[in-house]
Each structure stands twice: as structure tokens, then as C-alpha cells.
Symmetry: C2
Subunit: 355 residues, 2 copies
């Protein structure tokens, strides 16, 4: 009897519906090569569902995901449904209900993918953004006063807890011990006077537990500048929810296309399912045309295989991606300067894996 | 009798104390050429003062600045004094007391300044970040609970008012009418659910007043990616206090050195003095060595001349900067790949102006 993992699949909206099935096909093939199977259960939760029913997912949605070994998400968001409705109705509740407090987003220069920088180090970027994914700047606390009047105002509260900071920082330091033993913290303690000095304090406290790891600390403004001028300085970068969100789009833009950048929302204790989704969004402008790049979704799938305890299979998928991108004669989608369709890239990935 | 303007000068800390006198010399020379003078009144408000006296500026500090026609600031911040103490004790109170609600930061590719991007458009960047400078994410509202305990937490509140949003957006649209009639808004209404949807609403409302201006709207994460991949898309970019802070460091990093980027904190109604300070900070790592680049400070001085109503003098300073940078044989500081000292660059600027 072969091993099998149950995966909840939420293609979502826009190109999510195209890249997810493509990635499923690639992952299935790889699974069969490594002697396990993925049992996909699909959920049509999306903006389309919202428009029809008034909610992004059913009331028992979270309960239905709970038994899964992993959640495989495409992208959520579509014109006509305000983003804060669609995202706070699906993506963010999942991240929070399952305490996926780590958002892990590797940023790596890949052979064959033209980066954006002219620097001699541009092809030596290899860093990992560890983003706090459960609290911070993303909160429902706050609201609006005097709506529609001249004296209208909106209040938004950020909440940083010691537990929330400490656990993401420990994760970052643990990761650094397996990489180059360097952690940089993204802060803004010169401008944001309650949350960020607290973040710095916790960073110093956790750093003390890891005396062999080298640390640095940059305000987010200059940090984005350093990402551009000196990307080779960075190994693990730990950041709050918002700052991590920014850095994990900026990073991929430096090394190549947002269309290839993978991401994982992780509950490290494995008490709840983790969720794997690419960095890119639903890209309504190109949705339905078959031109989206499936690689970000496939690579996120590789992160899922790793998390499921199938590291060889994960390596196999990653190697296929690297081989494909490095081959100048292989098909590539528009975002990488090519003219290939999504299905061509998927087919090519599958051929590489089946050899 | 010749015209004269009274300028309050706050060199501040670190390289601020080196670049400010250099810039004063350049501006004085230019003023004499154009038949006016600058009467500088210097204030030693700084972290050093804080260490000695416990406060960054005297109690009547703001009153002493009030009569000035302009404020010329270097940089504030030094190791040993927590940044949130030094900045909230000097820089931010000045911005707020004088209702300098616009932070204007031009970002422009300059001939002779190597940019960071490999894109064919890399030398065609010409945009302006219009940053909200009086409210938003920068607030003293919030605090700490359970200090020193396991259940410790920090709360930080952002406050966005309709007046605050509307006035910075109108400024951005007015500016766009004098440039290429395009305004992009930096938002994050998919993640930050009270303040940023409100920001979007106000952007749409103000955009309606300017039907001839083309608008776009990007979440800050993907916007940083677009700055890197498609900087030529942007003309005027309007952003909240925090997002503007980030974009106005990222932008200069793309076109060259943070050391040349100028900035202005403006009270457009001229009811209060405006303040001119470069984007760079006090750079304690290189302070005192005479190697800092004075150009950011000098260029900020040009923005001050413009604001004082001396546009020809402002142009003259800017032209001198452009001429210097474009000349491969001219001295340049380390941050631009050269070995020249600050005094060499200052001398060269003065020679260009006196011809
Ligand atoms: C020093 C700091 C408080 C300041 C800011 O964030 O406003 C600086 O980064 C700037 O951009 O002027
Ligand atoms: C869609 C949005 C709410 C989300 C975020 O900001 O977390 C996205 O940008 C991401 O990075 O996963």
C-alpha cells in the first residue's frame, strides 16, 4: 500500500484557476515517481462564489480544511469584489485559524532568468524572507468615524505580541543555522514608535539565544535600497507582516519574475495544516488567456512536498524548474520574455520529470 | 539694498555636520550671484545635545524656528540615542508643528550616475514621490502592555483623516498637471483593512476633480516590484507617510546613490516655514571622515531656493550638480565609486557656479 497525502486545493480566482491544475499535474507525476500519491479535494471558494452567495467560503469552511495534510492555494481577488473583502474572507482567516505564523519566501537568482540589477552580484542572490504572518499591521482592529463627512477619519491598529515576535524570530534564527548564519531584521523603530522599538527589543533578546548567528538591523526604507544595491549582503531576513509582504515582492522582482516566486504559510508545530501559495496574485489582466507562468505555483508545490516529508520529491520538482529555466531553447512565458503558453511550460516540466 | 532670507540651520548629527556647512557655502555663492543673501542662524540641536541635556531641542525650540523663511536640516540620529527618541524629539515635531504635510522627493536618473538597474529604461527614470508627512502610520498613539512579561504586547495606531488624505492627493494632482499628468497611488487596501480602503476612496474622490490626469493604484508590495521592473511607468506617486518613506529610499537606490537624493518638507500654504533635508541619514559609520557626499544636501538647498521664490538660483545649483556628475573627470565621493573627499566635491561645485 502506498503513502498518500490529502491536499485541500483552492484554485481561487483569475490565473489561480489556470496555474493550480497545471501544478497539480506536475506534482502528481513527481509523486508517482517517488511512490506516494496526493489526494486532492477541490474547493471552489473564490470571488465568484462571493458574488453568487455573499461569502468567500462556507461557514464551516475552516473545519473542512482542518483534516488536510496541506492546503494548495492559487490566488484570490477579482475586480468587482473589494480586495479587503475577498482577502479577509478567505486567505487571511486561513492563515490565522491554522496559526500559519510563518510566511516563508525564498528569493534566489536562477540560471537563465534575467534579473533586474546591473550589479555584479545580481546572479548571486540567495536569501529567504521570513515574514510574520499572524498579527502586526494586518488587523481588523480599528474603523471609521464620521463616515461621509468632512471630518471623516480611519483608524488602523497594529498589534505586536511578544509571543508573535519571538516565534517568528526563533524560526528565522533556526533557519539561519541551516544556512549562512546571518539574520537581518527589518524594522522602522525610528518612525513607528510603539511597535517597532518593541520588535527591536525582541530581536535583540532572541539574538542572544543564538550567539553564533550574525545579526543586523535595517529600517525598512533603507533596507529596500540595500536589497537593490547590495542583495548579496542578505541571507535570512525576518520581517513583520507588512514589511515581509513588501520585501517578498521586491526580492523576486530583483531576481526575475514574480511569476516564479514561491511561498509557504507554515504552522511549524504541525498542529494545523500549512498552506502553499505563490507570491503572485490573481492577475485579472491576463487571466483566462493561458499565458500565465505556472512556475510559482509548481515551486510552491515543491515547498509543500518538503513540508509533507518528501524532500527527494521536492528536490526533483525544483531541479526540473531549474533545468527548464536554464535551457534557452525551453518554452518560457511572456513574463520571462518568451511567447510560450502555460500548457507548454507545464508539458516541458513534466517531460523533464519523467526522464 | 539686497533681498535676504533668514534660514534656520540644524546640522544635527553625524555627516549632517559635514554636509550642511558644505551646502551652505555652495548656496551662499549662488545667492550672491543672483543678488540675494541667506542669513543663517545655526542651532546645535542634536543627539549630542540630548546626551548632555536630556532633550533634543530647547522647550521653546519650535518658537525659535517659527520666524525663519526656511529650515535647513542635515540629519538626526546617533548610536546610543534610540532613534525613536531623537526623531520624535526633533524631526517629527518640526514636520508637524509647521504643518509640513508634503514630503516631496524627486527621483531622477542623472548622466554620469550609474543606476542599479539593467533595464533599458534605467536612465529614463524621472518621478516624484509625494509623501504624506503629517499623519498616517507615524503616530504617538498606542503603547505597551505587560511590559517585561511573557504576555507583553505593543499597540501602534495609524490615523488617516479625510483632510490629511485629500490635501496630499490634491498636491500630487496639481504637481502632475505641471508634469506628465499621471498619478499613481500607493495603497495596501487588500491587507490593511481600515486605513487603506479609506485612502483608496479619497484617491478616487480627488481623481474625479482632475479628469485630465491619468491615475493608477498599486498595492505597496507589487509597487516596489514595479519600481524595479518598470520605473518608467511612474511620474507622480502619492503615498502615505510610511509607504512614501519606503518608496523615496527605494527610488534613489534605483537611480544611483542615496547620497544625492534631495527632499523637502513643505507647508504649501506658506503659513509656516518649510524644511529642506536630504533623504540620507546621519550615517554614523562614515561620519567625521570627510568622505560623505554633500550633493543630497546641496540639492535639498536648491529645493529651498525654489521654495523661497528664487527659481533661477535653484536651477543654477541643479545645473552645477548635473554638470559635475556628468563629467567623468570631476571628483566623486565613495558612494559614487570615486575616492574624492567631501571638500573636493564642494570645491568643484563652487567652481562650476562661479564661472
Ligand atoms: C528618520 C526617519 C524618522 C525619517 C522618516 O521615516 O520619516 C526618515 O527615514 C525620512 O525619510 O525622512
Ligand atoms: C493578497 C494580500 C492580502 C497578501 C498579503 O498582503 O498578505 C499578498 O500580498 C501576499 O503577499 O500574500
Amino acid at each position: 500500500m502506498s503513502k498518500s497525502y490529502s491536499i485541500a486545493v483552492i484554485p481561487g480566482d483569475g490565473i489561480g484557476r489556470e496555474v493550480v491544475p497545471a501544478a497539480q499535474a506536475v506534482l502528481d507525476l513527481c509523486a508517482s515517481r517517488f511512490g506516494f500519491s496526493l489526494e486532492w479535494e477541490e474547493f471552489d471558494w473564490s470571488c465568484e462564489r462571493y458574488v453568487k452567495t455573499g461569502s468567500m467560503m462556507p461557514e464551516d469552511g475552516l473545519d473542512r480544511l482542518r483534516p488536510a495534510d496541506g492546503i494548495f492555494l492559487g490566488a484570490v481577488g477579482f475586480p468587482g469584489v473589494p480586495d479587503h473583502v475577498s482577502l479577509w474572507g478567505l486567505l487571511i482567516p486561513i492563515r490565522r485559524a491554522f496559526d500559519q505564523y510563518i510566511n516563508l519566501r525564498p528569493v534566489k537568482s536562477l540560471k537563465g532568468v534575467p534579473g533586474a540589477l546591473s550589479s555584479p552580484f545580481a546572479d548571486k542572490i540567495d536569501l529567504c524572507v521570513v515574514r510574520e504572518n499572524s498579527e502586526g499591521e494586518y488587523s481588523e482592529i480599528g474603523g471609521r468615524i464620521n463616515r461621509g463627512r468632512e471630518d471623516e477619519a480611519a483608524i488602523q491598529q497594529s498589534v505586536f505580541t511578544r509571543q508573535g515576535c519571538d516565534r517568528v524570530m526563533r524560526y528565522a534564527f533556526d533557519l539561519a543555522e541551516r544556512r549562512s548564519r546571518r539574520v537581518a531584521s527589518a524594522t522602522k523603530s525610528n518612525g513607528i514608535i510603539h511597535s517597532m522599538p518593541f520588535w527591536d527589543e525582541r530581536f535583540d533578546a532572541i539574538a542572544n539565544e543564538y550567539p553564533e548567528v550574525e545579526t543586523s538591523r535595517y529600517h525598512i526604507d533603507i533596507l529596500t535600497a540595500h536589497f537593490v544595491r547590495h542583495p548579496e549582503w542578505f541571507d535570512v531576513v525576518v520581517a513583520s507582516n507588512l514589511f515581509g509582504d513588501i520585501l517578498s515582492d521586491l526580492g523576486p522582482a530583483l531576481v526575475g519574475s514574480i511569476g516564479i516566486a514561491p511561498g509557504a504559510n507554515i504552522n511549524p508545530e504541525r498542529r494545523h495544516p500549512s498552506m502553499f501559495e505563490p507570491v503572485h496574485g490573481s492577475a485579472p489582466d491576463i487571466a483566462g488567456q493561458g499565458v500565465a507562468n505556472p512556475i510559482g505555483q509548481v515551486w510552491s508545490g515543491a515547498m509543500m512536498l518538503e513540508h509533507l516529508g518528501e524532500p527527494e520529491a521536492a528536490r526533483c520538482v525544483e531541479a526540473a524548474i531549474e533545468e527548464l529555466l536554464a535551457d534557452p531553447s525551453a518554452p518560457r512565458t511572456r513574463d520571462l520574455g518568451g511567447t510560450a503558453m502555460l500548457r507548454d511550460v507545464t508539458f516541458a516540466l513534466k517531460s523533464i520529470i519523467s526522464h
